[in-house]
């Protein structure tokens, strides 16, 4: 039997990967992928806790997150396409009409 701590550890590593990806990588699409990794880290947590605490609610929340992640990806990719057509680079650093 795999202990709960193993799942939480994997999820923590995934979350850190996603977090670093958003902060370090500059390509819009890779940033979007990193955000999805963060969402999946939360999903793993929820399903693992749900199993070990015998509370079904966690798995229901996980299903909702999967649906939301799909919606978010759809809108994110649509924004990327419009930005690309508008001839702005998809490199986050080169988006500098508005100064940070």
């Amino acid at each position: 039997m795999i202990p709960l701590s193993a799942y939480v550890a994997v999820s923590a590593v995934l979350f850190a990967t996603g977090l670093l990806g958003v902060l370090i990588r500059r390509n819009f699409i890779i940033v979007l992928m990193s955000v999805e990794i963060m969402l999946n880290a939360a999903t793993i947590n929820l399903v693992a806790f749900s199993h070990y605490l015998e509370a079904m609610q966690g798995q229901i929340v996980a299903l909702f997150i999967i649906a939301i992640a799909a919606g978010e990806a759809a809108i994110g990719l649509a924004i990327i396409i419009v930005v690309f057509r508008g001839k702005i680079s998809t490199n986050v650093d080169e988006m500098n009409l508005l100064k940070w």
């Binding site: 880290a41 929820l46 806790f49 749900s50 919606g71 809108i75 924004i79 419009v82």
Partner: protein, 491 residues
């Protein structure tokens, strides 16, 4: 599992809003381009129905859908505020979209979908519903920020908003998953019970608390999670900026207070320390950086950051107290955000409609000599700016007064003094615009001067915002009793 009809009746306002949004999305393709105004009136009609329904839900506490949603005075207060600001935004959009020659029918559908998300946020009693509401609001706003598809700045704003918004949702969600691990449920009352049972020493709880604070901090635009605000507020179409600055901030504060009071109230000693730091940083950075801005939309963005800082004072004070002190602290936050909504919406309405050569004139120097060209517009701007600076007899003064009173009564006089100093600094950058409008002469030829593009809808928005600012400044008692009735109690 089936749910009783009674549950559907409790969320009737949400159903009306979503139903109207779907109707608008369906009607948009079959309407001729010249008749898109119908959709705005449809939106206003739905809002009027919702105002009627929600005002009948002001008393008592009704739970629906196995405790996922709760309807109480607190939710009703925020919803009524959201209906009013959404209605004013729709009127402003009528004028603004015409001036920008954007005839996009689905715009009103997105506004209603975002509103539905905000309504779910403030009446959610479960982290799942609150998260879903947040996402519905954010996804609609990402699209709305990029609606001016021909303009690179708008697209860039949309992209930046999306990246940082999605990132903050990820952080929020991870915090929710940790809280679920602690409590075995995402219900706010179950989480509160688990924290009382286990105590607040758990490091996992502290981590979850910080992650939730970061997630909500992004949505409320408080320092250090504010960096998206100026860019997005500047780049987005101004009617959308007004909607984001007012409605999304109000809804985020609503959900934030609900989660931290009803769910994490037992750990209030921990989070009030955390938010003291955030509050001070927000006040300092928002007010100081606003001074150096040359673009009025950016300046108003930093001003909206600073105002979130003032509202946080009430949260900090209430968190350090229980009973009477806590409820006046929270009530002052509710009052502050309501007042902030009117003055900010009014200011953005003017910014959007002051135009030259078919373009929005959003540079502060465009306001030179406005008092001579457009005396009425300059006077309205004067009132909104004076109110934002918190000078009596306007509503902005009343908002700050109640916040500072709560701080003094809560034994945090030093915080009130710091905030007063920053309010004095803020008067500098607000009154600088007044000075530019009234004392500087416009340069260049008359054709290049900015003028106000008037329309009946815009006049109505400005009149409502002005009435809000002036009347709430003179007679704040009604709103104050409403806010104290609605304020959540820290157990």
């Amino acid at each position: 599992m089936t749910f009783p009809l009674q549950d559907l009746l409790t969320i009737l306002p949400e159903l009306i809003v979503i139903g109207t949004a779907c109707l608008i999305l369906a009607l948009d393709p079959i309407l001729e381009a010249t008749k898109k105004d119908v959709l705005a009136w449809l939106t206003l009609g739905a809002l009027a129905m919702c105002i009627g329904l929600t005002s009948s839900q002001m008393t008592g506490r009704v739970s629906a859908f196995s405790g996922m949603v709760v309807i109480d005075a607190y939710a009703a207060f925020w919803k009524l505020l959201l209906y009013i600001v959404t209605g004013l935004t729709v009127l402003l959009s009528l004028a603004y979209l015409k001036a920008e020659r954007l005839s996009i029918g689905e715009y009103y559908g997105f506004i209603l979908l975002a509103l539905a998300g905000m309504m779910v946020m403030v009446s959610g009693a479960d982290l799942l519903t609150i998260y879903l509401g947040t996402e519905l609001m954010s996804l609609s706003l990402y699209v709305m920020a990029g609606l001016k598809r021909t303009e690179a700045r708008s697209l860039e704003a949309s992209a930046k908003y999306f990246v940082l918004g999605a990132f903050s949702s990820g952080v929020l969600l991870y915090g929710i998953s940790l809280l679920f691990g602690l409590a075995g449920s995402t219900g706010l009352s179950a989480i509160a019970a688990a924290i009382t049972a286990h105590g607040t020493g758990d490091p996992l709880l502290s981590l979850a608390l910080v992650l939730l604070a970061v997630g909500f901090g992004f949505k409320m635009a408080v320092v250090p999670f504010h960096m998206w605000t100026p860019d997005v507020y500047q780049g987005a179409p101004t009617s959308v900026t007004a909607f984001m600055a007012v409605a999304s901030k109000a809804a985020s504060f609503g959900a934030f207070l609900r989660v931290f009071v009803e769910g994490l109230g037992a750990a209030s000693a921990d989070w009030s320390v955390l938010f003291t730091v955030v509050c001070l940083a927000t006040l300092a950075l928002g007010n100081l950086v606003a001074i150096v801005q040359t673009n009025i939309k950016r300046m108003l963005a930093y001003s909206s950051i600073a105002h979130a800082g003032y509202a946080l004072i009430g949260v900090v004070v209430a968190g350090g107290h229980s009973g009477e002190g806590a409820s006046t602290g929270f009530a002052s936050v509710l009052l502050y955000i309501a007042i902030y909504s009117f003055m900010t919406l009014g200011a953005f309405a003017l910014v959007g409609m002051l135009r030259k050569e078919g373009q929005e004139s959003d540079q502060i120097e465009d306001y030179a000599g406005l008092a001579k060209r457009e005396p009425l517009a300059a006077f309205f701007m004067l009132v909104f700016l004076v109110s934002l600076a918190g000078i009596p007899p306007t509503a902005g003064f009343i908002g700050k007064f109640y916040i500072f009173m709560a701080a003094v009564n809560g034994g945090m006089t030093w915080l009130a003094i710091v905030a007063v100093i920053f309010a004095a600094i803020s008067a500098f950058y607000y009154l600088r615009i007044v000075m530019v409008m009234y004392m500087r002469e416009a340069e260049g030829s008359i054709a290049t001067h900015s003028r106000l593009e008037t329309s009946p809808a815009l006049s109505l928005v400005l009149a409502c915002a002005l009435a809000g600012v002036v009347l709430l400044g003179l007679f704040p008692n009604g709103l104050w009793s409403l806010a104290s009735q609605a304020a959540p109690l820290l157990k």
